[in-house]
C-alpha cells in the first residue's frame, strides 16, 4: 500500500512538473485560455459580481453595451442612437424627441468612443459620453439609471469621429469632425475642396452638477480629416490633441491620395487659452441649426430644441493656441499617457510608433522654432517635439492605452497583436496575438491619470473561426488579457454587440452604489401620470383619447375601455405603480404600429394606438411580472367612427 502511495505521489509530482512547464509555454502560445488557472481568473461564481464595468461601444448598432470584467458577461444594451423596440427607445412618445436632429428623426447612428466623466483626472463614474459618427451627435448616459439622458447634435461637423473624450474635470467633452466640409454648408463643386472646406473641433461644456451639455465654441480648422483625440492631463491639462490625416486635402480616392504625405499632424489645441478668449467676448456667432435633446428624469420625458447659432473661433485670432506636430503617416489613435507628458501618434501606415513630448513641445513653442505653417497655423519641427519612437513594433499601429506603471499597450491592426512597451526607453516588452485584426483596446481608467492596470480588453474587427459559425455574418468579439505581470496573458474571448470600437471601464464600486433601484412615485412629474388607481381615467378631446392607466401586480387599471372609435388617436399613458426593485411591467396593444412599453417602477410611458378596425381588441403585460402575469390583460372596444358608444372604463366590474 505504501509503495502504491509513493508511486502515485511520484507520478503526480512528475505530472505537475509537466503541467507547469506546459503552462509557461502555453502563455506564449495562443492556447493560454486552456490552462485551468486561466479559467479561474475569469470565473465569477454565480451570484458574485464582477470587479469592473466595461462600457463597450456598439458601433453600427448605435448602442452602448455594459459588460462585466473579468467575466465578459453582457448585462445591458443601453439604447443611445438607435431605436430599441425592447425598451421602446425612440418608439414611445417620451423618447422620440431624443432622436430628433436638424435632419428630422434619425433612428440610427454609428456609436464609437465612450468615455466616462472625470474629476481631478480620475474616473468618477457619473456619466458616459459617446459619439454618433454619422449624423454628428454626442450623447450622455447617466450611470445612476444607465439611460441616455441627453443628445446634442454637432453643427458644421461630418463623421463625428475624433470624439467624445472628456477633459480631466469633465469641463468639456470634445467632438472633432472626420470629414471637412463647407462651413457653413453650401452648394459648391467638390473639386474645390482644397482651401475651401474646413474641419470643426467642437468643445461642449458640461455643467458640473447635472452634466447638461452646451456647445461652448467650435474651432474652425484647415480642411484635414480629424481622426481621433485625447485630452492633456496633469501637466498638459488645458491642451487637447487631435490626429489628422488627409492633410493632402483630397476629396476622392483617399486611400491613395490621402496617403502621399510623409507626415501628417497632431494638432495641439490650448483650449484654456481659447476658453479665455471666448469668455472675453472673442469668437464669431454663426447661424446654425442643430438639435439639443434632453431627457428629464422627473417628467420621464424628453424635449428637443433646435438651436440656431453657434460660436466659432478662427485659430488665427488666438495666437499661441493651436500648433501642428508633424507625425508620420496618417496617424490614427492619439493617446496621452497618465502623466500627460507623452502624446502617442499611432501612425497607421508607419513602421515606427511616434511619441511626442509635451515638455519639448512647450519648449519649441516658447523658442518659436517653427518649420512653417499650414493656413497660418505654426508647424513645429518633428525632431524638436519627438520624445522617442518605438522601432518596428508591429504593423499598422492604431491605439495605445496605459497601465499607470510606465507601460504602454498598442494595438496593431495589420499584424493583429497587442504590443507592450515601456515609456521612456521605448523598448518592446511583450506581444500577444489578437484574433483577429484588433482595433481599439481598453484598460479601465485608460483615459485618465489613474488607470487600473489589471486587464486590457482588445476589440477585434474580424473573428472568422473563433466562434460557432452563424452564416456569413459572424459575431464581433473582444479579448481579455491579464496585464498584472510582466508578460500579458490571454484569458478570454467574448462576443460583443454591433462592432466594438472604443470602450471605457472602471471599478464596479464607483458605479454600483449609485445605481437606482426604482423611480419614487411621489417624484413622478409626468403630466399624464396616474399615481393611484383612483387617478385613472379616459379623456376624449376630439378624436384624441388619453388613457390614464396604471399597472401593478397583476392588473391594469382600467382594464375594460369602451367608446373608442375607428380613426381615434389613442394615447395610453401607463404608470407602473410598483415601488419594488426589478418589477417592471410591459404593455402592448394588438395592431399598434409601435413597440411595447417596458415601464420601470414609478415610471410613466406613453404609446400611441390608432385603431383601424371595429372590434374588441386585447392588450396585455409583456414582462413576466408575477404568478398572475398571464391574467394581466384587458380589452378595448372599438366602435365605428360614427357610433354613439359612450366613453366608459372599469376595473373589476362590468361596463353597463
Amino acid at each position: 500500500m505504501k509503495n502504491i502511495l509513493k508511486s502515485i505521489a511520484a507520478l503526480v509530482t512528475v505530472l505537475i512538473a509537466f503541467t507547469s512547464c506546459n503552462d509557461t509555454k502555453k502563455s506564449d502560445s495562443k492556447s493560454g485560455a486552456l490552462a485551468s488557472n486561466v479559467a479561474e481568473k475569469v470565473y465569477v461564481a454565480p451570484g458574485e459580481h464582477d470587479e469592473f464595468y466595461a462600457f463597450i461601444s456598439g458601433g453600427f448598432s448605435g448602442q452602448l453595451s455594459v459588460y462585466g470584467l473579468p467575466s465578459g458577461r453582457l448585462f445591458k444594451v443601453i439604447p443611445v442612437f438607435s431605436q430599441d423596440a425592447e425598451k421602446a427607445w425612440g418608439y414611445n412618445e417620451e423618447t422620440k424627441p431624443m432622436l430628433e436632429t436638424s435632419h428630422g428623426f434619425v433612428p440610427w447612428d454609428d456609436a464609437h468612443h465612450p468615455d466616462i466623466s472625470q474629476t481631478a483626472g480620475e474616473i468618477d463614474g457619473r456619466w458616459v459620453f459617446i459619439n454618433g459618427n454619422n449624423t454628428p451627435r454626442i450623447a450622455k448616459v447617466d450611470l445612476s439609471t444607465f439611460e441616455t439622458t441627453e443628445i446634442i447634435e454637432i453643427p458644421n461637423s461630418a463623421g463625428n469621429h475624433s470624439s467624445s473624450f472628456v477633459t480631466e474635470n469633465t469641463e468639456y467633452v470634445v467632438a472633432g469632425t472626420r470629414f471637412s466640409v463647407p462651413i457653413p454648408q453650401r452648394d459648391m463643386p467638390i473639386k474645390d475642396y482644397k482651401g475651401n472646406f474646413k474641419g470643426s473641433l467642437t468643445f461642449i461644456s458640461v455643467e458640473p452638477e447635472h452634466g447638461h451639455m452646451d456647445i461652448k465654441f467650435q474651432l474652425i480648422m484647415p480642411g484635414f480629416d480629424y481622426d481621433l483625440s485625447h485630452p492633456g492631463r496633469g501637466k498638459s491639462h488645458g491642451w487637447f490633441f487631435f490626429t489628422t490625416y488627409n492633410t493632402e486635402e483630397a476629396s476622392t480616392l483617399l486611400e491613395v491620395n490621402a496617403s502621399q504625405n510623409d507626415k501628417d499632424f497632431i494638432a495641439a489645441v490650448n483650449w484654456k487659452k481659447i476658453e479665455e478668449y471666448v469668455n472675453n467676448g472673442g469668437g464669431t456667432m454663426m447661424p446654425a441649426n442643430y438639435a439639443h435633446n434632453v431627457y428629464d428624469e422627473s417628467t420621464h420625458m424628453a424635449t428637443s430644441t433646435l438651436k440656431k447659432e453657434v460660436l466659432t473661433v478662427n485659430p488665427l485670432d488666438v495666437p499661441g493656441a493651436v500648433f501642428l506636430l508633424p507625425t508620420p503617416k496618417s496617424p490614427h489613435g492619439c493617446d496621452v499617457d497618465p502623466t500627460g507628458e507623452y502624446i502617442v501618434g499611432n501612425g497607421k501606415l508607419s513602421a515606427n510608433l511616434t511619441v511626442h513630448s509635451f515638455t519639448k513641445m512647450l519648449d519649441a513653442i516658447e523658442n518659436e522654432k517653427f518649420a512653417g505653417d499650414a493656413y497660418g497655423i505654426p508647424i513645429l519641427n518633428f525632431e524638436d517635439v519627438l520624445a522617442g519612437s518605438v522601432e518596428q513594433p508591429g504593423l499598422g499601429p492604431l491605439h495605445t492605452e496605459f497601465d499607470g506603471k510606465g507601460n504602454a499597450y498598442t494595438t496593431f491592426f495589420i499584424s493583429s497583436e497587442v504590443v507592450k512597451w515601456k515609456l521612456g526607453t521605448w523598448e518592446v516588452v511583450d506581444r500577444q496575438p489578437c484574433y483577429y485584426s484588433v482595433g481599439h483596446l481598453m484598460i479601465p481608467g485608460g483615459n485618465s491619470q489613474k488607470p487600473w492596470g489589471k486587464y486590457v480588453v482588445a476589440m477585434n474587427k474580424i473573428t472568422k473561426d473563433r466562434y460557432l459559425p452563424t452564416g456569413p455574418e459572424v459575431t464581433q468579439s473582444a479579448q481579455l488579457y491579464d496585464i498584472s505581470g510582466e508578460k500579458m496573458e490571454l484569458l478570454l474571448d467574448f462576443p460583443t454587440i454591433g462592432e466594438p470600437h472604443y470602450a471605457a471601464g472602471c471599478p464596479a464600486d464607483l458605479i454600483k452604489p449609485r445605481s437606482k433601484k426604482l423611480f419614487p412615485l411621489e417624484e413622478n412629474n409626468h403630466p399624464y401620470a396616474a399615481k393611484s388607481e383612483a387617478d385613472t381615467k379616459v379623456v376624449r378631446d376630439g378624436n384624441i383619447v388619453h388613457v390614464y392607466m396604471t399597472m401593478i401586480r397583476s392588473h391594469f387599471a382600467p382594464d375594460n375601455i369602451e367608446g373608442v372609435k375607428v380613426g381615434d388617436k389613442v394615447y395610453f399613458h401607463v404608470t407602473n405603480l410598483e415601488q419594488d426593485y426589478d418589477v417592471p411591467h410591459g404593455v402592448s396593444m394588438i395592431g399598434a404600429n409601435t413597440s411595447e412599453l417596458l415601464i420601470m417602477p414609478g415610471q410613466t410611458e406613453t404609446f400611441l394606438w390608432e385603431p383601424k378596425q371595429e372590434g374588441v381588441w386585447p392588450f396585455y403585460c409583456t414582462d413576466f411580472c408575477s404568478a398572475l402575469h398571464q391574467e394581466m390583460q384587458g380589452y378595448v372596444r372599438v366602435s365605428a367612427a360614427n357610433a354613439n358608444t359612450p366613453l366608459k372604463w372599469s376595473l373589476g366590474e362590468d361596463i353597463e
Binding site: 426604482l518 419614487p520 401593478i552 401586480r553 410598483e578 415601488q579 419594488d580 426593485y581 404568478a627 398572475l628
Partner: protein, 199 residues
C-alpha cells in the same frame, strides 16, 4: 432621595424609549427578496424597514387574501397614552411612594405589557386568518382546514415561500429594562427598609 427611589425614577423614565425606538420588527425572507421585506412596529406607527416594504408586503399578501396593513390602528393612540400615564404614575411613586408601591407599579406594567402582547397576537391572528373569500390563491393545511398566514408572535416561522421572523427591538428592551428596574428598586427598597427596621 433614597437610593431605591432614584432607581425607581430611572425605571419610570426608561419606557419612554418606546417613543424613540421600535417596539417590534417583523422580517420576511424569500429567495426573490435578497434584501428581506421588513416592518417596524412602533407604539404609534408601522414603518418600512426599507423604503416601500409595507406596500410590497401588502402586494404579496393580496394574493392569499390578507388584508392590507392599515395606516393606523386604535392601539397607536392607546399605547402611547398608556405609556405616558404609567410613566407619570411611576414618577409620582418615585418621588412620593415607598418600596411597596414600586412592586405595584411593576405588577401593573407586567399586566399592561401582557395585555399589549395579547392584543398584538389577536391582531396578528386576525391578519393571518381573516382572509378574503375571493383570494387569488387558497391554501389548505394537511388536515383540510384553511391555511393561515399569521406571523409568529415571537420567533421564526416558515410561511409558504417566506421565512418570517418576529422579534422585539430596542423600544421593547427599554420597556423591559424599565419594568425590571422597578423590581430592583423594590428589592433595594425592601432591603433598606429591613435594615432601618432592624436598627
Amino acid at each position: 432621595m433614597k437610593k431605591s427611589n432614584i432607581i425607581m425614577l430611572l425605571a419610570a423614565i426608561l419606557p419612554l424609549g418606546l417613543f424613540l425606538f421600535p417596539l417590534w420588527k417583523i422580517t420576511l425572507e424569500a429567495p426573490q427578496y435578497p434584501t428581506p421585506l421588513g416592518m417596524y412596529i412602533y407604539i404609534n406607527d408601522f414603518a418600512d424597514a426599507n423604503p416601500h416594504d409595507i406596500k410590497n408586503i401588502n402586494l404579496m399578501n393580496h394574493y392569499v387574501g390578507m388584508k392590507y396593513i392599515p395606516e393606523a390602528i386604535p392601539e397607536f393612540k392607546i399605547f402611547p397614552a398608556g405609556i405616558l400615564v404609567t410613566t407619570v404614575i411611576g414618577l409620582i411613586i418615585a418621588f412620593k411612594g415607598n418600596y411597596k408601591w414600586f412592586l405595584y407599579w411593576f405588577i401593573l406594567m407586567i399586566v399592561l405589557s401582557s395585555a399589549g402582547l395579547y392584543d398584538f397576537y389577536l391582531w396578528e391572528h386576525d391578519y393571518g386568518h381573516n382572509l378574503d373569500p375571493r383570494a387569488i390563491m387558497k391554501f389548505t393545511n394537511p388536515d383540510g382546514t384553511q391555511m393561515g398566514f399569521q406571523p409568529p408572535l415571537f420567533g421564526t416561522k416558515d410561511i409558504l415561500n417566506f421565512r418570517a421572523h418576529s422579534y422585539p427591538r430596542l423600544g421593547a428592551y427599554f420597556l423591559a429594562l424599565g419594568i425590571g428596574t422597578s423590581l430592583i428598586a423594590y428589592l433595594v427598597g425592601k432591603k433598606n427598609h429591613k435594615k432601618y427596621s432592624d436598627v
